[in-house]
């Protein structure tokens, strides 16, 4: 008696043995799994010819040389706002999808769901479906149990290894790294990524599973902010289903609901919940219960859709006997779409007008100016030439705004201002002295103009020319 009164503050994870479902949503889920995993594992192997001096991997985050490549797009570190914009775009897209279709991201696309689904599939191959797995877990240790468990875990680990392996390919040239991995010739960084991601994949998809969605994922918690009455949720039609009860063939359906309490919907649920209890935080909207229930309904020659994707508004309308309606245009979907439109067009505009040449000029802070023997004034500048093209280039630098200004480049060798070399895909840095023979006023605007010697690109930068202390 005493014992039962004791409060349990921590709860052991209840193992969920989800049964194999078959139907429309299961098919969609398989297809999405193949496509998303296919993209993940194969994308780093796509080659993309960018010409000489640059990597030919379509998707590459080159940390060593601080460049990111995505097909046509190339990003330098200072252009990180593209990635920020991309992340905002992705987040708002997710919000829009959620407000329209509910948690379809969770149910079909989220890596946690996809890998868990893959791991359950492996489990099923070696240990059988729900009932067989439950029986096997309860059975005492035997050779049969041992090899089935062993094969499952080895396969999980291999999948995890492939997963972490694919991850590092996004940051290195894939074929070269593959060769290095096979020769066990990899850096500590790469090795630690592979080990930690292998372990986390194994742990998250093999053991943590639904715990990630319920206890770790913040998105699961704040999604209710994107929901309204018109968002699609998985719902059990209480009006039609209740009162539920066992059914023997030949019995009349009069005076009872269509739910025969077969618990098929509970058995297939990867989250281990009963959808008939209503909308719950744990539900990831994967639709497995819909497939399971529809299968039973077909067997009983009843219409499908006792459990289905539905909106709260339509549930209410049905109760009141009103016409059901689908409302796509709502204030929140309009807001989300507008945000997407603005961010999308800004990004696109920026990408389309991105120049392959940039000039930056920094005026010396100390000394601000130098007076020379012949009374002329010299100012020093540091200029940076960003050659974002894939070819070594030469540039000409001129200034305007100061009459009779002379430009001199200070550096090794004999570099002239009409022939400044900058390597492909890199930044050239030069020290420039500008000397003004006749002076006008203390602070003058000076415009630096940089032109490609054999091309049409140019850029300019406005700086100051200082001639006296004040």
């Amino acid at each position: 008696m005493q014992n039962h009164n004791k409060i349990k503050l921590f709860e052991k994870q209840k193992r969920i043995y989800s049964k194999r479902a078959w139907g429309r949503y299961r098919k969609i889920k398989w297809v999405i799994m193949i496509v998303t995993l296919g993209i993940y594992y194969l994308a780093p192997w796509i080659r993309w010819d960018r010409g000489p001096n640059v990597p030919d991997q379509a998707i590459l985050i080159d940390i060593l040389h601080s460049r990111a490549y995505f097909f046509l797009i190339e990003i330098w570190p200072q252009e990180i706002y593209y990635i920020a914009a991309l992340l905002i775009f992705a987040a708002v897209t997710l919000f829009l999808i959620t407000s329209l279709f509910g948690r379809v991201w969770c149910g079909f696309f989220c890596p946690q769901t996809v890998w868990t689904d893959l791991f359950i599939w492996v489990e099923r191959i070696f240990q059988g479906d729900r009932n067989a797995r439950m029986k096997l877990d309860k059975s005492p240790f035997s050779f049969n149990k041992f090899w089935r468990k062993f094969a499952t875990h080895i396969t999980w680990l291999l999948i995890s290894l492939a997963t972490s392996g694919a991850w590092v390919f996004y940051f290195n040239d894939a074929p070269t790294l593959m060769e290095n991995i096979l020769n066990f010739d990899i850096s500590f960084g790469v090795a630690s990524w592979i080990v930690s991601l292998t372990l986390s994949t194994y742990l998250m998809a093999g053991y943590a599973r639904e715990q990630v969605c319920t206890y770790m994922c913040p998105y699961a918690r704040f999604q209710s902010a994107m929901f309204d009455k018109d968002s699609l949720i998985i719902s059990y039609d209480k009006q039609r289903g209740e009162p539920r009860g066992k059914y023997k063939s030949g019995d009349s359906w009069d005076g009872r609901g269509h739910c025969v309490n077969c618990t098929a919907c509970v058995q297939v649920c990867p989250m281990g919940i009963d959808i008939r209890d209503g909308l719950q935080m744990e539900c990831i909207a994967c639709g497995m219960c819909i497939d399971a229930c529809n299968g039973i309904m077909r067997k009983l020659s009843l219409p499908e859709g006792l459990v289905r994707y539905d909106t709260i508004r339509n549930q209410q309308y049905r109760k009141q006997g009103k016409q059901e309606s689908v409302r796509v245009l709502r204030s929140r979907t309009i807001y989300y779409s507008l945000i997407l439109l603005v961010i999308g067009s800004l990004m696109l505009y920026n990408l389309l007008t991105r120049s392959l040449l940039e000039l930056h000029v920094i005026h010396d802070r100390n000394p601000l100016f130098v007076k020379l023997s012949d009374n002329s004034i010299r100012n020093g500048y540091e200029i940076k030439i960003l050659n974002k093209s894939h070819y070594d280039k030469n540039y000409s630098l001129t200034v305007s705004g100061i009459d009779n200004a002379m430009i001199r480049i200070q550096g090794a060798g004999n570099i002239e201002s009409n022939n400044l070399p900058v390597y492909a895909n890199s930044t050239g840095s030069y020290r420039v002295f500008v000397t003004a023979v006749d002076m006008i006023s203390n602070r003058n605007q000076i415009k630096f103009l940089l032109k490609e010697n054999d091309g049409s690109l140019s850029d300019e930068y406005i700086s100051v020319f200082i001639s006296e202390d004040n």
């Binding site: 409060i7 000394p367 130098v370």
Partner: protein
């Protein structure tokens, strides 16, 4: 039977802890047990950390900052030393080549030039900036190293020897020459006439007749007939617009003729290594006025 003993909240159907304040009951939604395990794991991790790294302060104060040393005996000082050693290894690759190259060769090799500038800049800030300023622009009595006017010459060799032996320093090979005091040799009027002459010389105006003879007799030997000075003996150019003391007004020239001021620069031969002096030479030369 046991179920009945649990306190169940009617509204949410969730077990309560049995605690109640003013009718508000505390629901008990148990946390996952692995969460507790993760907490214990972090505790174990912390203990491992204490063993490996310096962690606890002790009264005896063993480690470099006091406290337990840890198995690895890791300290930030050690890490710094390791990083400095790594830098020295990288530096050594350039140094051998740098030592065997002339100034001219260094000026034609981009990597050697950058190496010299990087080293020279930090050596300058540590040793030279006190007098010449962090930007090398000097001040009253301390030459500006950015301009094209050099008292003792602006070639690599000149700058190198000035840094190495100093000016009027106590090294045997230093540059010692200084302007004599004319207050005892010339009368007040004569000094004034020479000053007038020098002012006009600088401004390129008509030269007063009175000063010509006096200048030739007393000044031209060092400063030259045309007043352009002599770098070898440190006689400044009088016709340019750069003045070490003041702004070239007549009063200041008079005072300099009567009681000349002379700066002193220490010699750096023993304080800085040969490599450092050469790096510094290239850095000073690159400030813009190098010849």
């Amino acid at each position: 039977m046991s179920q009945n003993n649990k306190n169940i909240d009617e509204l949410s159907n969730v077990e309560t802890t049995g605690h109640e304040w003013d009718g508000i009951k505390e629901l008990n939604n148990p946390s996952p047990r692995w969460w507790l395990w993760v907490f214990f794991l972090t505790c174990i991790w912390a203990i491992g950390y204490w063993v490996v790294y310096p962690a606890w302060p002790t009264l005896s104060g063993q480690g470099e900052r006091g406290g337990t040393k840890g198995r690895q005996e890791w300290t930030q000082y050690k890490e710094l030393r390791q990083q400095q050693e790594a830098i020295l290894t990288i530096k050594a690759q350039y140094l051998a080549k740098f030592q065997n190259s002339s100034f001219k060769e260094i000026m034609n090799d981009e990597s050697l030039y950058k190496f010299a500038i990087a080293g020279g800049r930090s050596i300058f800030k540590e040793n030279c900036a006190t007098c010449h300023g962090t930007g090398g622009s000097g001040s009253h009595g301390y030459p500006n190293l950015n301009d094209d006017d050099w008292i003792w010459g602006g070639s690599f060799e000149d700058i190198y020897s000035t840094i190495k032996y100093g000016v009027r320093s106590n090294h045997l090979d230093t540059k010692t020459l200084a302007m004599p005091e004319f207050s005892d040799i010339l009368s007040k009027d004569q000094v004034s006439d020479i000053a007038e002459y020098v002012v006009n010389l600088t401004k390129g105006k008509n030269l007063p007749k009175k000063g010509i003879v006096l200048y030739k007799e007393n000044c031209a030997y060092c400063h030259g007939d045309k007043g352009t000075g002599t770098r070898e003996i440190g006689a400044p150019n009088l016709v340019d617009s750069i003045w070490l003391y003041g702004d070239g007004s007549k009063d200041q020239i008079i005072s300099q003729i009567k009681h000349p001021k002379h700066g002193v620069m220490p010699y750096w031969k023993e304080r800085l290594s040969e490599d450092a002096i050469r790096q510094l030479t290239i850095f000073v030369h690159s400030l813009g006025g190098g010849k």
